[in-house]
Amino acid sequence: MSLDQEAVKRIATLARLKLNEDRIGPMQQDLNRILQFIDQLNEVDTSQVEALAGVNMSFMPFRKDVVNEGGDVEKILANAPEVACNMFVVPKVVE
C-alpha cells in the first residue's frame, strides 16, 4: 500500500503535526519506504493466530479504590508555559 500526498496531509492532521509544503514530498517518500518494508508481514499466515498486546502478564492486579495522593495543584502547574488562577491557559476555544 502506498500513500499519496493527500493521505500524508490527513495523517499529519490526525497526529497534530504541521507539515510545510516542502516537507510533504520527502515525508511521503520516507513513509512509503517504511510501509513497503512493513508489507512483508503479509507473507505470514495469521488466520489462526490471536493478537498479542503484551507479554509476561499473567493477571491484571487491582488496587483499592481509595485516594492516595492529590491536592498538588502547585506542583502540577509548576511546569506549565502559561497559568492563570490555578488553571492552564490556552487560546480561546469557544466563540
Binding site: 498479542l52 502478564m57 487560546p91
Partner: protein, 487 residues
C-alpha cells in the same frame, strides 16, 4: 588520568569500605573527567553540586559503617528517567525545561541504595534512534576511535549512558531498552548492558516510548557490576501494574554457577545478510568457549525472526504515537503559540519533535487509523505472538540463546544511513527479545578488524536473568576483553 575512574563499581565499593578514598574524592575525580571530556557530549545536564552533596552524605554513612548497596557510587542517569526537580528532557525539544514533580521508581531505588547522580545522560530524541544523533542536544561521541580517527557513534538510544561508562565519566549508568537501546550501545562501547525481562523493573516515571516494550536496565563495566545494579533496580512496584510480583533473586550468586550441562541455542536465522565476517567468527568462538566450559551447543530455529523488525516498526510507532499525544504545549515543556488551540498543538509538536520522531508518530497514527488498524496493527500483534511462540518452543530445547548483539561494529557519525529502513536494520538482532518480553544482555566479545568492540548477546527465558549471568560470566572470562579505560 585519575586512576579512580578506571575502577569497576565493585572495586570502588571495596575501596570506599576500606577507606582507601572517599566518595567525595571519587565524585570529584568523575566531575573532573566530565569537565575534561565535555566534547564527547555525554550529558545533557550535569549536577555537580547535588552530586557532591550526596557524596558527602555517603561518606558520613560510610564512616559510621551504615553503608547501603550502592553507597557513594557516582552514576549517570539516562535523561528519560524523571528526577524530582531536575530537568528531564528525554533528549527531545518538546520537554524543554521540564522539571518533574516526582521521581521514577528506578532512580528512587538507586537513591535509596546510596548512589550519587552525576547528571542526566544524552540519548536519542524521545529514545527513538540507534545512534544518539537524533538528540535535540547534539550527538554523543564514542570514546573508541577507528584508525581513520573519525568520530564514531556510541550507539543508541542510551548512547550517553554507554559513552559515560566506557569513557570514565560515570562508574555505571542506567538506560532503557525498547528495541535494543541498552544492548546495542553497550556493544558499540565495549561494556555490559542488560535489558531485564519485561516486568522486572518498574517503568513508573520513565518517559514512555512504547509501553509494552520499554524496560530499564544497567550499563556497566563488567557483569558483576551489572548484577549488583540490577538487584537494586528490580522489583515490584504498585505504581506499575506490569511490574512482576516476584522476588528479585541474587544475580551475583549466579555469576559463579558456571555452565556445566547448560544447553546453549544458536539460532540459524540470526545469520543475517550483511553481517560482518568477523562478527560471525566471534560468534562461533563464543559458542566454543561455552562448550569448553561444559555447555552443550544446540542449533535451533526461530522461524519468524525475519519478521521481527517489521512487527516492531508497526507496534513501537503505534504505541509511541499514542504515548506522545500528551505533548501538547499546554501543561509542560515547549509551547509555540497559535491563534487556535489546534494551531498551538500543531506548532508546538512540529517544532518540538525531531524528524525521526515525527516519522514514527505519523506511521503510528496511520497504522492505528480507521480502515488500516486490522491490516497493520492487529496483523503485527498476531505476528508478535508467533515470534513469542518461537522462543517458547526454543526454550523447551535450550536454556539460553547466544547471538551477536549487532551485525557490525560502531560506524562513524557521518556514515549514518539516510534511508530510515537501513537505519532500522541496526536493531535486527535485539528487537525480538523486546517483542517476546525476554531478558537480554550484551557482553564485550572482542575487537573488529578496525579495532572496535563487538558484543555477544545472550537471551534467556522470562524472569531467568540468572542464566544470562551464568553464561555471561563464562564468556566474559574467556574473552578477557580490555575496556577502553584499560588500554
Amino acid at each position: 588520568m585519575n586512576e579512580l575512574i578506571r575502577l569497576t563499581l565493585v572495586k570502588v565499593k571495596e575501596g570506599l569500605r576500606q577507606k582507601k578514598f572517599s566518595s567525595v574524592e571519587l565524585t570529584k575525580a568523575y566531575l573532573a573527567s566530565m569537565e575534561r571530556h565535555k566534547c564527547m557530549n555525554t550529558y545533557i545536564l550535569e549536577t555537580p553540586e547535588l552530586a557532591l552533596e550526596r557524596a558527602k552524605e555517603s561518606d558520613q554513612r560510610l564512616a559510621k559503617g551504615e553503608e547501603r548497596p550502592l553507597e557513594g557510587l557516582p552514576l549517570a542517569i539516562k535523561d528519560n528517567f524523571c528526577t524530582t526537580g531536575i530537568q528531564t528532557t528525554a533528549g527531545t525539544h518538546i520537554l524543554k525545561g521540564f522539571k518533574p514533580p516526582y521521581e521514577s521508581t528506578v532512580t528512587q531505588k538507586l537513591k535509596e541504595g546510596g548512589a550519587v547522580f552525576l547528571g542526566k545522560a544524552n540519548m536519542d530524541d524521545a529514545a527513538m534512534g540507534s545512534t544518539t544523533t537524533t538528540s535535540y542536544y547534539g550527538s554523543t561521541i564514542n570514546p573508541w576511535k577507528r584508525a581513520d580517527g573519525k568520530d564514531l557513534t556510541p550507539g543508541g538510544s542510551s548512547g550517553g549512558s554507554a559513552a559515560a561508562v566506557a569513557g570514565g565519566l560515570a562508574v555505571a549508568a542506567i538506560g532503557s531498552d525498547t528495541g535494543g537501546s541498552i544492548r546495542q550501545p553497550a556493544a558499540f562501547s565495549g561494556i555490559v548492558g542488560v535489558k531485564p525481562t519485561y516486568g522486572r523493573c518498574s517503568r513508573w516515571g520513565i518517559v514512555a516510548f512504547a509501553s509494552s516494550l520499554d524496560q530499564a536496565g544497567p550499563l556497566t563495566r563488567d557483569l558483576r557490576d551489572a548484577a549488583l545494579m540490577l538487584e537494586v533496580m528490580a522489583g515490584h512496584d504498585p505504581k506499575d501494574s506490569t511490574s512482576a510480583l516476584l522476588e528479585v533473586p541474587s544475580f551475583e550468586k549466579a555469576l559463579i554457577q558456571g555452565v556445566k550441562g547448560l544447553r546453549v541455542g544458536i539460532p540459524k536465522e540470526y545469520r543475517i545478510e550483511g553481517m560482518d565476517e568477523e562478527t560471525l567468527k566471534i560468534w562461533e568462538k563464543g559458542a566454543e568457549w561455552l562448550k569448553e566450559a561444559g555447555a552443550e551447543i544446540v542449533e535451533i530455529s526461530l522461524p519468524h525472526t525475519k519478521y521481527s523488525l517489521a512487527t516492531y516498526y508497526v507496534l513501537a510507532p503505534a504505541e509511541a504515537s499514542s504515548n506522545l499525544a500528551r505533548y501538547d504545549g499546554v501543561r509542560y515543556g515547549l509551547r509555540i503559540p497559535g491563534k487556535t488551540l489546534d494551531e498551538l498543538y500543531e506548532n508546538t509538536r512540529s517544532e518540538g519533535f525531531g524528524a525521526e520522531v515525527q516519522r514514527r508518530i505519523l506511521i503510528g497514527t496511520y497504522v492505528l487509523s480507521a480502515g488500516y488498524y486490522d491490516a497493520y496493527y492487529l496483523k503485527a500483534q498476531k505476528v508478535r505472538r508467533l515470534i513469542t511462540q518461537d522462543f517458547e518452543v526454543a526454550f523447551q530445547k535450550v536454556d539460553v540463546i547466544l547471538t551477536p548483539t549487532t551485525p557490525t561494529a560502531a560506524f562513524a557519525l557521518d556514515e549514518k544511513p539516510t534511508d530510515p529502513v537501513v537505519m532500522y536494520l541496526n536493531d535486527v538482532l535485539t528487537v525480538p527479545a523486546n517483542l517476546a518480553g525476554l531478558p537480554g544482555i550484551s557482553i564485550p566479545a572482542g575487537l573488529s578488524k578496525e579495532g572496535l568492540p563487538l558484543g555477544f548477546q545472550l537471551i534467556g527465558p522470562a524472569f531467568d536473568e540468572n542464566v544470562l549471568f551464568r553464561a555471561g560470566r563464562v564468556l566474559e572470562e574467556a574473552a578477557a576483553f580490555k575496556s577502553f579505560l584499560e588500554r
